[in-house]
Amino acid sequence: MRPNRALEIGTGLFVLLGFAALFFLTTQLPGSGIQVGGPAGYSVTARFDNVGDLKAGSPVTMAGVRIGRVAGIAFDPTDFKAVVTLDIDRRYDTIPDDSDASIQTAGLLGGKYVGIGPGGSDTWLHDGSTIEFTQSAIVLESLINKFFANFAGSRSSNDAPAAKEDATP
């Protein structure tokens, strides 16, 4: 068969496209790779005792409105805390620097996000500053554990005298 330029270009294009798609699916889909949007704002760090399943890319909100996203999460081995880098939109540059950050859950099954509550200071957060007041993620399992521990404790203290009464006669 004689060489056919268009055919070979078409095939090459198809194979290249296919492998590019395959490459994307295998490398970018699992794990964290894509940067959605750019670093469009200034970064602020916050230290949490526990970030739960907060992920890089999760939203950062204030009064329920998204003002940025989580740029990265790292672990600090000196004080055993999670260092969360927040990328906040430049438009919102008048957030008081004594604001507090808490990790919250969207809905019962939804993802985690960082909610920022405003403070009362006259100085603003700027690039590189740290949010001092943080509240960790509520881990549902430990909450349930605590509840059942209390529940069982109160039950057994109620039951104990009753059992004694039954036993004495």
Partner: protein
């Protein structure tokens, strides 16, 4: 031994057909290595099976992804977890919809073309003529077409998945207002390499099955005009059923 051959019952017919397909697969595989000596033939078939199916695959991928975004959003919204839309769309596409829908489209688009092409060669005695010239049609006609289909299929599935994800993102994020970061970050957190691998293995198996059925039906066409039509129909029916059957078996094996 009687002169009149024994008539096959329905079960024997099915068994014979399965046996014939397996024997045919073995003889193709035996010719695959010699067929590699003529890469241009295979490239031509990758073009026929792959590049020419690209438009329909991309179009269908877009719509499947968009519908997935719409339906997934409606379903997840009832549980208040629209953020998981990315995960639902990605896993649905990678593991099921991508390989299966692409295989069904492949059977309809490329499989029928293969069958009718080879079938017409059979009907017009071109295959016999090649054998008379000591040119093995298995090596020159069948093996390159089979290999072309096997190579093209996983690439088509990958493209389908990409476009599908784009479609789901289009509807979920742009139209329905799911947060972009949540869409991608939850997807990346939940999808594992195993899921991608499962889809890839499925696509290779479906590609092999669909290509095999297409070349088998073409090669064994009854050499009449009606025979070619019948063979083409049988390609679509057999490929589709086989794809869905294999899909169930593979899914059960992977879970």
């Amino acid at each position: 031994m009687s002169v009149v051959p024994a008539r096959d019952g329905p079960i024997t017919t099915i068994l014979r057909r399965i046996g014939a397909v397996v024997v045919f697969l073995a003889s193709i595989l035996a010719q695959c290595v010699p067929a590699l000596a003529r890469p241009r033939l295979i490239v031509h078939q990758i073009y026929n099976a792959g590049a020419r199916s690209l438009i329909i695959i991309m179009l269908c991928g877009l719509f499947v992804g968009m519908v997935l975004g719409l339906q997934g959003f409606d379903l997840l919204q009832r549980f208040g977890s629209e953020d998981a839309l990315g995960v639902a769309a990605a896993l649905g596409l990678l593991k099921e919809l991508g390989p299966v829908v692409t295989a069904l489209l492949f059977a309809g688009r490329a499989g029928t073309a293969l069958t009718s092409e080879i079938g017409l060669m059979r009907a017009t005695d071109q295959l016999t003529a090649m054998q008379m010239m000591a040119a093995d049609p298995m090596r020159l006609i069948v093996a390159p077409r089979f290999l072309g289909g096997v190579v093209a299929m996983p690439l088509l599935v990958a493209i389908f998945n990409m476009i599908g994800l784009f479609g789901a993102q289009l509807v979920g994020v742009q139209l329905m207002g799911v947060d972009t970061g949540a869409f991608w970050s939850q997807m990346q957190a939940a999808v594992e390499l195993n899921d991608v691998q499962e889809g890839f293995i499925k696509s290779v198996v479906f590609g092999t099955a669909c290509s095999l059925v297409a070349v088998y039906e073409g090669y064994h066409t009854e050499p009449t005009a009606a025979g070619v039509g019948l063979a083409t129909t049988r390609t679509v029916v057999t490929s589709s059923v086989l794809t869905l059957l294999l899909d169930y078996i593979l899914t059960a094996a992977f879970l």
